[in-house]
């Protein structure tokens, strides 16, 4: 289009239009630099907005998975300590049994003392079996009570699994199955120790040897439980590491989408500022002269 007539009004409105456009570009960039966000509203980049929202949701989820795994680590550490002490105590009981099994070496009074020691160990094992994490017995299953075993050595917990979700659909058990660890009620470690103490007291060597064999079996079971706890701890450690790595990479990609590339934005800001100043300067030069300046 060739412009045949140009009026002062046209120039005024055109320069205003250009100044406005420049100023709005400048303010958009200024907003980005000042807020540090490339996407302030969904319309800035609708597709990226969806990605950013999904990333944010997943990020919260992954952080929660990491917290879940860390919480589980506490449970398993508690269980591990408990199992180690139980093994030590059980071995002590067995050693006492070996001592008592030596025929003729122990007087009836001595047998009574040894039997009492075994019974003491049994009581301390029951106390250990009631070890708690966050006010819940680690062997109590899903019980709402504060004990897994009664003072008599019978299970009072509610069988069930305490699990932690460490990734989408991945759950790791963090408590100890009481029956698998200590044997079923009526034939558990505590019952075996009671029988052993009785055998020591009565001096029944054959019964004592049989009792010591069953306690050895209990020790094996405890050892298996330790290994099981260890492998679950490794799985949790790995889950924490994975969650950490995922969190980091997601924070990075979220920043890539939502955060402004500062050097680039500042450079653009300066370019726009220059353009705006140029527009201002040219406007002031164009608006000033008129024929009236030259007619005298």
């Amino acid at each position: 289009m060739t412009i045949t007539r140009v009026t002062q009004n046209m120039m005024t409105s055109r320069s205003l239009e250009h100044l406005n456009a420049g100023l709005s570009r400048l303010s958009k960039l200024q907003e980005q630099v000042a807020s540090g966000r490339a996407i302030s509203r969904p319309s800035d980049a609708p597709a990226e907005t969806t990605t950013a929202m999904r990333l944010r949701a997943t990020l919260t989820e992954v952080a929660q998975h990491r917290r879940n795994a860390e919480d589980g680590q506490g449970w398993l550490a508690e269980a591990d300590t408990m199992l180690q002490s139980m093994i030590t105590r059980t071995r002590q009981a067995r050693e006492i049994g070996i001592q008592a099994a030596n025929p003729g070496a122990v007087s009836p009074g001595g047998r009574e003392v040894l039997a009492g020691e075994i019974e003491q160990i049994r009581d301390s094992l029951i106390a250990l079996a009631n070890t708690k994490h966050q006010d819940r017995p680690v062997m109590g299953g899903i019980s709402g009570g504060s004990e897994a075993y009664s003072a008599g050595g019978t299970y009072v917990g509610v069988a069930g699994q305490v699990t932690r979700t460490v990734a989408d659909g991945v759950r790791i058990r963090v408590d100890l199955d009481a029956e698998a660890t200590l044997g079923p009620d009526g034939a558990n470690l505590f019952d075996h120790l009671t029988e052993m103490a009785a055998a020591v007291r009565s001096g029944d060597t054959a019964a004592l040897r049989a009792g010591m064999d069953t306690v050895a079996g209990d020790l094996d079971r405890l050892g298996v439980a330790v290994i099981d706890v260890g492998s679950r701890t490794v799985a949790l450690d790995r889950a924490v590491e994975t969650a950490d790595a995922r969190e980091l990479s997601m924070v990075k990609s979220l920043a890539g989408i939502e955060q402004v590339d500062l050097p680039k934005a500042i450079l653009e800001l300066q370019t726009q500022e220059l353009a705006y100043q140029a527009a201002l300067a040219s406007t002031s030069r164009v608006m000033a002269p008129s024929l009236m300046d030259f007619l005298r």
Binding site: M1, R5, N9, S43, T50, A63, G144, S290
Partner: protein
């Protein structure tokens, strides 16, 4: 032969003509920045021979000078029509964009304060509850997060409702403006017809007429056609609003809160319904109220309803702290799901974290409820859809604004006052005036010679 005083008469005509040119130029300069002013131009014509008055009469002069033939107002009704049409589209898009942008700012996405973040935080608190089903702290935390989520959803619903009532009351205001403008245009049409018949200068009235028609078009997307008597007839969506001296009244024929919004023109015996799809501010308001805002509200309602349904189903699948079956967590009114979303339980012990009855410390049900569902994706789709709509509206406004700038420029080229041009015509008129005075002077001195010096030779 022409008479002795003929030249004096032509010089007098030239003086008068140049005076008028200077008047018009100064009028143009005075109105250089007046909105809607169309520059005027004096059309001069040379005065020629008188008509032959009798069979043998003969004109022997050589022209009788100059006179003002016409005071031309530079306007092009087709260009004006184009300007009105583009302005109507621009104001339609502009109102639409402004409302959508406000709605968009209100939803606070993507960010830590939106519904998306509230859902994620709520799910995380459920995980924490699954870890410690017996902890009152974890239970209270879940309820707090649920309340935050409910508040976030309801804030958005309230935002949409506020935009709706805002758009509705603006629509009423626009209608008042439209009807006032229609009345003014009818009155102008009357004056123009009267003055035109009397032969007076109607240019100022025509300027005003075009201004009113432009504002009517911006408001309603109305189309104006020029009448033979100089007035403008205006139709909205093909239905006459102003015809000659008669102006109808544009009314909202659907009730105040009824969608879709329809309009009718009242004036004759019966109201004439205006077809849907009008432009201008009114069209934008009607579209927002009938389509855009209800669509977003419906999307938000669907998200709120499925969120509540899923969480309630989750609650009912489990057992609370005391071992009883879970009660619904959220309630809502299906007619207004997002706006009426409420937390149904206040006692933290009623949260059904366990999947087993009997008051055991199980967290399986809380874990199941913590898993993300289709609610998240549905909400993300809703937000992305709004974002796309706003971005499109913004782009359309930018394009339309440059189109409007172009047609405005074309119109300004024809009708705008150029000060330089007016200075030139002012100066040339001034010079013409001086020259005509000089002619008078010459004739005067000629007559002086003839009257005072004749017959004095040799005296």
């Amino acid at each position: 032969m022409s008479g002795s005083f003929a030249s004096l008469n032509s010089a007098l005509g030239a003086l008068r003509y140049n005076r008028v040119v200077m008047d018009v130029a100064s009028g143009n300069i005075a109105n250089a920045a007046t909105p809607g002013y169309n520059r005027r131009r004096v059309e001069g014509e040379s005065v020629g021979a008188a008509a032959q008055v009798a069979m043998w009469s003969r004109y022997e002069g050589s022209g009788e000078g100059v006179r003002v033939a016409d005071l031309h107002r530079l306007a092009d009704q087709f260009l004006d029509g184009r300007v009105r049409q583009e302005r109507a589209t621009l104001s339609y898009l502009d109102v639409r964009r402004t409302t959508l942008e406000r709605l968009e700012t209100g939803i606070a996405e993507p960010g830590p304060d939106g519904v998306g973040a509230a859902i994620a935080d709520f799910r995380a608190s459920l995980h924490a509850l699954a870890n410690e089903p017996g902890s009152d702290l974890a239970r209270t935390h879940v309820l707090t997060r649920a309340q935050t989520l409910v508040d976030a959803v309801r804030t958005q619903a309230a935002n949409v409702a506020r935009e709706t009532s805002d758009a509705s009351s603006r629509l009423e205001g626009t209608l008042t403006k439209v009807n006032a403008a229609a009345g003014e245009l009818a009155e102008l049409n009357r004056q123009i017809a009267q003055h035109g018949a009397a032969g007076t200068d109607v240019n100022a009235l025509l300027d005003r007429r075009d201004q009113v028609a432009l504002s009517l078009s911006s408001l309603t997307g109305a189309v104006a056609t020029e009448r033979p008597d100089g007035g403008l007839d205006v139709t909205v969506g093909g239905v006459p609003l102003v015809s000659g001296r008669e102006a109808g009244t544009l009314v909202r024929s659907s009730g105040t809160d009824v969608v879709p919004v329809t309009f009718a023109i009242r004036g004759g015996a019966a109201d004439v319904p205006v077809p849907a799809g009008i432009r201008g501010e009114l069209g934008a308001g009607a579209d927002l109220l009938s389509v855009t805002l209800p669509a977003y509200a419906a999307g938000l309602d669907a998200v709120a309803a499925s969120l509540a349904d899923q969480l309630n189903a989750g609650q009912q699948a489990g057992f609370d702290r005391d071992g009883n079956p879970g009660a619904p967590l959220l309630t809502y009114d299906p007619a207004d799901a997002a706006g009426s979303l409420r937390l149904a339980i206040t006692n933290p012990a009623r949260l059904a974290a366990s999947s087993l009855p009997g008051g055991v410390l199980d967290g399986q049900n809380a874990t199941a409820m913590a898993a993300p569902t289709t609610v998240e994706t549905a909400y993300q789709r809703l937000v992305a859809g709004l974002g796309t709509e706003v971005a499109t509206a913004g782009r359309l406004v930018t394009n339309q604004a440059s189109l409007v700038a172009q047609v405005d420029g074309q119109r300004e080229q024809l009708t705008g006052v150029s000060l330089d041009e007016e200075m030139v015509s002012l100066m040339s008129a001034q010079r013409g005036y001086e020259a005509a005075s000089r002619v008078m002077n010459a004739v005067d001195s000629m007559l002086d010679t003839l009257i005072n010096r004749t017959g004095l030779v040799g005296r």
